[in-house]
Symmetry: C2
Subunit: 118 residues, 2 copies
DNA sequence: CAGCATCCCGGCAGATACTG
DNA sequence: CAGTATCTGCCGGGATGCTG
């Protein structure tokens, strides 16, 4: 098992905290096909406010997962791109997504069962 | 790509929400080696309060990931065990942990770099 | 266009004390 | 032993409005 010293190890927490935010994984995933600008990202994602998108990008940048390129001038042009490190995180994200597609209905069924019998 | 319709799909969110809680994944992981009782789990995990452990177990049970067996009598004996569904979720959890072990130091280095230059 | 400044709210999680 | 009952603080995230 690769992660046997899991419980006490803070390093594992690191990855979970990265994926624990509502939007981190979504933005990372949306960026997988190349640089996008702020507005493009908002469109592609849908349902995220401008403020929250900026916060998320700042967080990802802080953790070395996203690279921010500001081309100066007016109007402002800012592009965001995955770093190589950020790109490696797409693997776990995809694994989670795959699990959801395989077992999502089982979870929902369990939820309804549990709700039903109070 | 298995999860191309990721952004709009609520099913993917399901899995992320499951792993977004601070303790869900930890408790799931702690349960991977068979049934444990409330007190045993607390010991094995460390740093979790009784109340929060109960809440977490209730949540996991609600989602069909954990099975709760109460053997009546005094003193009370309650054991928790992974369901087959819960066991499948160990795979993504392990993937995340493996990523953390492989790239955790890169993230920490990036954080220090970002903190350093203000 | 990109993004800060505010205000606000709900829910996770910790600490503490109590019960069958 | 395995919980429940409170009280509390914190932070993510939404809404709105303003700026260079």
């Amino acid at each position: 098992m690769t992660t046997d010293a899991f419980l006490a190890d803070c390093r594992a927490r690191l990855a979970f905290d990265l994926l624990s935010n509502t939007w981190n994984a979504v933005v990372l995933w949306a960026l997988r096909e190349g640089p996008y600008r702020h507005g493009e990202l908002r469109e592609r994602i849908g349902g995220i406010s401008s403020k929250v998108l900026t916060e998320t990008l700042r967080r990802l940048e802080f953790n070395g997962l996203v690279d921010r390129q500001a081309h100066p001038g007016a109007p402002p042009r800012v592009a965001y791109e995955l770093t190589p490190l950020g790109r490696t995180l797409l693997v776990p994200i995809d694994t989670i997504g795959a699990w959801a597609f395989a077992h999502g209905d089982e979870v929902m069924a369990a939820q309804e069962r549990a709700s039903g019998l109070q």
